[in-house]
């Protein structure tokens, strides 16, 4: 079966400015693709190109095996949910949802039936005769979803649909979208700048920066094996600790040396990796630094560290220290004995660390 | 084909307007500019003959009067209308209960045709039966107010009528400007104990610079285009004492049959407008892009 969406060598320029550079992505039926990156990275432009709302400069794009490169949005069999919801202000909720079908000349009876079905699914039946101006943010969001759902398209496109909602509602709607995706088995492309949204929703993530794809992968791949320093830093909260270090081969593997503010450097031994250059940046997730007293299984190495700040956050307690000239955060158990200004014995899980080349920022292991 | 049509509909929709503007605005300006460089009289000629029309124009005492009048009229009209408009706006900004009604009264002349305005003021300023006669009837036998028929003073009657018509509009502009000033700044000044008049002179009015500029542009534009008012109020007279470039141009074009003079005077008007409007439009469009 052909991929539901396939993009090959896509370039997009505004005048002489390159917005998107050599984009190649493909997803299968039922995939939930999330385009994530900081603002201005080109993710929304890419979504608009997929929708056909922006012409592309060069490259090819196919939906369900059919070439769509020069096809107008209405013939791409897509539906889209916008950041501002873009509900037609003068139409009722019902008319908003059926407008697309009306334009396409679909039978009134079919329209009514589909409207009723979608309204029930999204629990917006009582709102059908209201105008968008009379709805709350969350209700508008639902109507915008309804307008997309009723079309039953090959591909759903979402352009930061949750960014205008307050924090609590955003989490609720996120869960609902996930449930919807699982129930419908539909193919979706979703743009967000929120890496948590990306991680929770996606079956496949594309991380973008400056119009270039940095990495494509499952959420686990992106999280555990970031392709470069940018992805490592962008995905995850608190961010991955990126610490300058020196390595040297020894009998068991590589010896990793991390400078400390006061005292001797920390020496850790990594038995899994070989042939690392002398200067590297080691990337350690906060959860891979733990209390030695509550040690876990894994390829752990222990060291004493001077804790500068302790931030209790309920389930976890974050401890901040200085290593290799950087602030390093450890996600410790809430019952940790770590205290600011005191030394604490910590374990580093070297089985999960990433190494990056300091100049290029590329992953080494 | 349908694809092409679909993609180019917006351009096709703009095309007629674009062509019309190109021909009827820019083409016509070019035509007038061209003809102003020829010896055209009753009929247009198209052989360029230098600046002869402009030489004639600036040698003409009538144009001299018209051009001088433009600056006298324009200066007084703009300055007084702005001051009056500002005063009215500030007076109205003091939580006046009947503000809506008063604003309506101040602004209604703007809805009238200049011809109507001219007709009304011509009657009021008529020395035989108007204001002069009325005041004399009250017992002030020596009162004279004959500006309308006095070549030295007639231009000021046009200033009066023009101010009557447009100052309410300036007030509306300024009032909108006053209301758009950040209320928190004003509150902060009041908390600091700064007197109201100082709040106006030191904070509010300086922050309205763009509104002053807008008002200036609109009023100067009105002044240069003033034609109807002169025709209705004085007919350009006595003699040609109240001619403005607009009436001069019209007289040359339609009663004297001197197309060359009409074209060259129109070009001068246009240049005066451009000198004022182009920098303004340029800065407006630029600031929009940014």
């Amino acid at each position: 079966m052909a991929p539901i969406l396939e993009i090959n060598n896509l370039f997009k320029n505004y005048g002489s400015v390159e917005i998107l550079k050599d984009i190649n992505v493909a997803i299968e039926q039922g995939d939930f693709l999330v385009l994530v990156g900081p603002s201005g990275c080109g993710k929304s432009t890419l979504l608009n190109c997929i929708a056909g709302l922006e012409p592309i400069t060069s490259g090819k794009m196919a939906i369900d095996g059919q070439d769509m490169t020069n096809v107008s949005p209405k013939d791409r069999d897509i539906a889209m949910v916008f950041q501002s919801y873009a509900l037609y202000p003068t139409m009722t909720v019902a008319k908003n949802i059926t407008f697309g079908m009306k334009v396409r000349g679909i039978d009134q009876a079919v329209q009514d039936e589909k409207l009723a079905h979608v309204a029930k699914q999204l629990q917006i039946e009582p709102l059908l005769n209201r105008k968008p101006g009379q709805l709350s943010g969350g209700q508008r969001q639902r109507v915008a979803m309804g307008r997309a759902l009723v079309r039953d398209p090959k591909l759903f496109l979402f352009d930061e649909p949750l960014s205008n909602l307050d924090a609590k509602l955003r989490v609720e709607m996120r869960t609902e979208i996930k449930a919807l995706h699982q129930r419908l088995g539909a193919s979706m492309v979703y743009v967000t700048h929120d890496q948590i949204e990306a991680m929770t929703l996606a079956t496949k993530i594309v991380v973008m920066k400056g119009g270039v794809i940095q990495q494509i992968g499952t959420p686990a791949e992106i999280y555990n094996r970031p392709a470069n320093l940018f992805v490592a830093d962008f995905m995850g909260s608190p961010a991955m600790n990126l610490i300058p270090a020196r390595t040297k081969a020894n009998g068991k593997g590589m010896q990793v040396e991390i400078a400390r503010k006061d005292g001797d450097p920390i020496m850790l031994t990594d038995t899994r990796n070989r042939d690392l250059p002398e200067n590297v940046i080691i990337g350690v997730r906060p959860e891979d630094i733990a209390d030695a007293s509550i040690a876990r299984a894994g390829e752990t190495q222990e060291a004493d560290c001077m804790i500068d700040i302790v931030e209790p956050a309920g389930a976890d307690t974050f401890a901040v220290m200085q290593l290799g000239g950087k602030h390093v955060t450890a996600r410790l158990h809430s019952e940790t004995s770590a205290a600011a200004g005191a030394s604490q014995r910590l374990t580093f899980d070297l089985g999960k660390v990433s190494y990056f080349e300091p100049e290029t920022g590329l992953r080494l292991n | 084909m349908t694809k092409w049509l679909e993609e180019n509909t917006p351009k096709l929709v703009l095309a007629p307007s674009f062509i019309i503007v190109l021909i009827f605005v820019y083409g016509f300006i070019a035509w007038t500019a061209w003809v102003s460089l020829t010896r055209s009289r009753l009929l247009p000629k198209y052989e360029i003959d230098g600046f002869i029309q402009y030489d004639r124009l600036f040698a003409s005492p009538r144009w001299d009067t018209a051009f001088t009048n433009l600056f006298v009229f324009g200066f007084l009209f703009i300055v007084i209308a702005m001051i009056l408009g500002l005063i009215l706006a500030i007076l109205l900004d003091q939580n006046i209960r009947t503000e809506g009604a008063i604003r309506t009264i101040y602004l209604y002349p703007m809805a009238l045709s200049m011809i109507v305005t001219g007709t009304a003021w011509k009657w009021i300023l008529n020395p035989g039966l108007g204001l002069e006669a009325t005041v004399r009837g009250w017992g002030f036998e020596t009162f004279t107010f004959d500006w309308l028929v006095n070549p030295e003073m007639a231009i000021y009657t046009i200033v009066i009528a023009a101010i009557w018509q447009s100052s309410g509009f300036v007030m509306a502009l300024f009032l909108a400007g006053l209301r758009s000033v950040d209320q928190e700044i004003i509150k902060a000044a009041q908390v600091d104990g700064i007197p109201t008049w100082r709040v106006y002179t030191a904070i509010i009015i300086p922050s309205m610079a763009p509104i002053f500029l807008s008002a200036f542009i609109v009023l100067s534009h009105l002044a240069i285009k003033s034609f109807d008012l002169v025709i209705a109020l004085t007919g350009g007279g006595p003699g040609y004492a109240t001619d403005l470039p607009a009436t001069y141009m019209y007289a040359m074009a339609f009663s004297r049959g001197d197309i060359g003079q009409a074209a060259s005077s129109a070009m001068i008007m246009m240049m005066v407008v451009f000198a004022i409007v182009v920098p303004y439009l340029y800065s407006e469009l630029r600031s929009k892009d940014g």
Partner: protein, 297 residues
């Protein structure tokens, strides 16, 4: 200490405040008189007989109200050799204004819709060219326009005047609609495109229903401009096709017979009535048009 010295100043300033308040209202009232006086004089004069005008004074109310002047102004006053009053010219103005307002508003709406929502290369240049056209003194197009109307066979006709008003109104109508539509998020257009609607469908179903306020502003602006126009009217009309402003001017300056000031005033009020009516009924929109036409954006 501070409190004791503070209290008397407060009462003192209260008295001053009340006096200031009265002064304020007095000033506002005087200015109101200044603006109302000409209208008052026009109305009272129009109801006086010529006899009373010659003997009475400007500001007095008519001793005997007569409608003669109104009757004459409407259907008997001379505008040159013709003596039919302003009636035929009033209808000329109606015939010119209604189609010209309608057409220029419609085209302006479409233009504004394109410039604001369907941006393409050159659309901004187009808008700048249009905007500029709003500011030219019309004298600069008067001569070639007269010739062009002749070439098109429209010289001295009502369609000719409609044509002229549409063309030179487009700049403003485009500006009004563009500034209105530019504030509508472009996502709305995108959503409608994805929904399958085309250029005209989006305009008709999505934008037009949103446009009532700006249509009112534009229609009022255009109507006032066209109704009150004199320059185009006098330049491009002939005996039977003159608009009411030209007829009014002709009546006032007519040299035949004695000067009938009451008829002049009645004719002037008739000429002013439609725009005054619009102003009274929809003053809010009128002011919005004025300020929008002068302050860009």
């Amino acid at each position: 200490m501070a409190d004791m010295s503070y209290t008397p100043t407060q009462t003192g300033s209260n008295v001053g405040k009340i006096a200031l308040r009265w002064g304020l209202y007095l000033m506002l009232g005087l200015f109101a008189l200044f603006y109302l006086m000409p209208l008052f004089v026009m109305i009272t004069t129009s109801f006086k007989s010529l006899e009373e005008i010659r003997t009475g004074d400007l500001i007095s109310l008519p001793r005997e109200v007569t409608l003669d002047a109104w009757r004459t102004a409407w259907s008997g006053a001379c505008t040159g050799i013709q003596c039919e009053g302003v009636r035929p010219f009033f209808w000329n103005s109606v015939l010119i204004a209604i189609p010209a307002v309608f057409i220029s508003t419609l085209i302006g709406a479409l233009n504004g819709y394109v410039v604001a929502q369907w941006r393409f290369k050159g659309a901004n240049l187009f808008f700048a060219l249009m905007l500029f056209g709003c500011f030219i003194p019309f004298q600069v197009v008067l001569l070639p326009m007269a010739r062009m109307l002749g070439l098109m066979g429209l010289a001295g006709t009502i369609p000719g005047l409609i044509f002229v008003h549409v063309i030179y109104g487009l700049g403003f109508t485009t500006l009004f609609f563009r500034n209105y539509y530019v504030s509508i998020p472009s996502e709305l257009t995108k959503a409608a495109k994805v929904d399958g609607a085309g250029f005209f469908r989006i305009f008709w179903s999505v934008f037009l229903p949103l446009s009532l306020p700006i249509i009112v502003v534009t229609v009022i602006w255009q109507f006032t401009q066209i109704w009150n126009d004199f320059l185009f009217g006098i330049s491009f009309s002939q005996a039977g096709t003159q608009p009411v402003t030209v007829a009014l001017n002709n009546i006032v300056n007519s040299t035949t017979g004695i000067k009938a000031y009451n008829v002049d005033m009645a004719a002037a009020i008739i000429a002013a009535l439609p725009t005054l009516f619009v102003y009274v009924v929809a003053g809010k929109y009128f002011v919005r048009g004025l300020t929008a036409g002068s302050v860009k954006g």
